[in-house]
């Protein structure tokens, strides 16, 4: 692996998942990371990603340096040829090149603005880091993708599935704030690379980017989609067509215990943080069906597998 920016950076998904599960068993991994440094740069808040990636790196023997990009350092300019006479003190060209001197791997989190679709899809932050860094870059959630989360999710399904080809349903859920499409995008991508029967269900105005969902079956009736599901992945996202907006939805899309009855006693997944009783009802999250904590734990091993793969190169 040279970088880990999108899922297409994974050369062999199955191998990588096996690797992660092996790492989890070993709970250590030789001294591959010894003397190496991971630099983590956050343009947005993080709990799981921050701590699980830091932990993963340290399990590999790496040193970790964490920065809140704008608060601890300097506001960055990303435009090529900019006359930097406003509030941006440092250009990404220097920032990425300099970080590459101090770090053996750079990990970056940068959310979308959800205002202009084209701008978000340009992935200015993560793509410029990749372009100007001379060391591998890891995506800790970018404007349109969250491939570390997706790898975690694939690991979790791989561990918990009871049939060879389980039915996996990604369902939209309500949320008080407009959220990025990064998590559902990457989940939809990785499911298409997995041996599962994959269905997405969401209100009509919330179809994801068709370039990502491709041939995946999209059902606008939640109850119909949930039928016989082995895994239900719940997640809110803002509209792709009415970009970044939250068009009103009449039906109640919160995942409840009642709705779960239609499934094959499905495992319920969510990337967290989750709004209880808005996205998923307490009775589901507090039930045996919920695997959200197990899933969060796998973040460490997904990150460890990715970092190990990058260190080997």
């Amino acid at each position: 692996m040279n970088n880990y920016i999108t899922l297409s950076d994974i050369e062999n998904l199955e191998e990588l998942i096996k690797e992660a599960i092996q790492l989890k068993k070993e709970n250590s991994a030789a001294g591959l990371g010894k003397g190496k440094t991971l630099g983590m740069l956050f343009f947005n808040p993080s709990l799981r990603t921050r701590l699980s990636t830091e932990k993963a790196a340290k399990l590999l023997g790496m040193e970790v340096m964490v920065m809140n990009a704008d608060k601890d350092g300097w506001a960055l300019e990303f435009e090529d040829g900019a006359v930097m006479d406003s509030n941006k003190a440092e250009h990404i060209k220097e920032a990425a090149a300099v970080l590459s001197q101090y770090c053996d791997i750079i990990a970056v989190r940068a959310f979308p603005e959800l205002k202009e679709r084209e701008k978000d899809e340009a992935e200015l932050v993560i793509n410029n880091f990749t372009k100007y860094a001379s060391v591998p870059v890891v995506n800790l959630e970018s404007a349109t993708g969250h491939p570390l989360q997706a790898l975690t999710d694939a690991i979790t399904i791989s561990e918990l599935k009871k049939s060879k080809r389980p039915k996996v349903v990604l369902t939209w859920a309500p949320h008080p704030k407009a959220l990025p499409q990064s998590v559902p995008n990457s989940f939809a991508e990785i499911m298409q690379k997995s041996n599962v029967d994959f269905v997405i269900t969401n209100p009509e105005a919330y179809d994801l980017n068709p370039n990502i969902t491709k041939e995946v079956s999209i059902v606008h009736n939640q109850q119909e989609a949930l039928k016989d599901a082995d895994f239900v992945y719940v997640k809110n996202w803002s509209s792709y067509q009415q970009y970044g907006q939250s068009p009103k939805v009449e039906e109640n899309w919160t995942l409840t215990g009642e709705k779960l009855k239609a499934t094959n006693n499905a495992k319920v997944m969510h990337c967290l943080p989750v709004r209880r009783n808005v996205v998923i009802a307490d009775e589901v999250l507090d039930s045996y069906n919920s695997v959200v904590i197990h899933q969060a734990n796998n973040r460490t091993f997904a990150a460890q597998a990715v970092l190990k793969s990058l260190l080997k190169k």
Copy 2:
């Protein structure tokens, strides 16, 4: 030890103090913490607690991950059954369970609001972490207690006492801001478990929670209380009766060199940070009587003793 939330989590105080003093001598402690991770979560500022606890953990060989809870991560919901449609993105149930996946011990600082006594006494933050975490939790100062500070104080008195049963006076002092009762509460508790002659002195409106002070002698005349003291612990706190308020005090309660003359050449203690010439006069803090820096140093060894005890379980 299973958690370290209140002083009652200490099974054998004397043993623990001995352990701390031993650790201080050794300045290392085998590899007990190797491969283990301490996660520190701050809802409020910290200098001594942050650095001494981090240092203690590293002396034990642990990895340490530090987060400013709300600034780096997500605002937490603590109410059971809440419909999370406001600004709180994550429920303590998930946060504590997830942190328990990444950390072997979780340490939390959360100050009181000093508005509603019942709410503060419910200790929502620390108690919910303890309830929902599956790993030990350490109190880095909560709404009503600061047991790591109290352990430090007991260690310090144990080291510096010149008689078997020294007289220890906890005296209130003025402060421009209403402060929590956490430090005096825990100090009063630990002194009651120690072989000392313990007296509290404060203005009438400032009596601490009687459930904590119990049989301790409370004297409203500072000069009288200070007489023959071997240790004077100076600290401001807000009123417990007029909860969180700062009722006007006529006399000057600042600890001065003049007042110290009535004592038995007492050692002067304070948990720091201290407002010079408001809480304690320069001439005292800069004199040989002051042991505040020595005391601050003991924070490391108190933390180390507690962490070691938790790791052993």
Copy 3:
């Protein structure tokens, strides 16, 4: 070395540079720092200084604790004898003494206010840390100096020079914000200790402190100064005479490719962050002449050489 506050703390510059270059080759340095802790305290933002110093310490085997001084901890009082009844919760006397308990070396960054020259020149923050700390203190850029940057710069020139006594020109450049004189001050100082032909060029209102520039030739015509230069160090600073102000400059002082033609194919240096097309034009920064990234990399080895020298004492 006892502290590293100003360049005069360097006993033998040549030796120290050699040491740094040696460290760079080795990329490790025995276990000199093992069991030792570096505490880093930031009153202002930092990227290179933060990460390179942290990295340097870890390469030496040290533990590192990083704090954003005011945000993570308490606002500090620096005035002697202050009655601390306002917003400052902790006096430098305690803060420095306490940090000295937890850290084996303390590193501090504190920029000037650029309002009163006398106040900035008093170097309240760094000097008080040095006064009240009982362990070595490292200057991570103070009100009037940046000796770690200057050491980096001397290392870089030493590595890249092609003649025994190269011509080094420090040139002022425009900037949208009034900046400190710390970097040019320390650079001017270290060049005077180096075997170089050193010239400073700046607009008339921007002469640096004459106590620092001493006998150095100051030329107010940029093009004339640049002639035959082997190294051009570009940097903005605010006025020293009209202290902290930015008096209007008629000519264009941005370093362009056109201007560079007068030099001896000079290496272009800057401490970073740099405002592209304001301080230095893209065509220069993106050319082979620019060594700013190489220079930034040397920050690690300058810091490592200094820390190693402090640890040895």
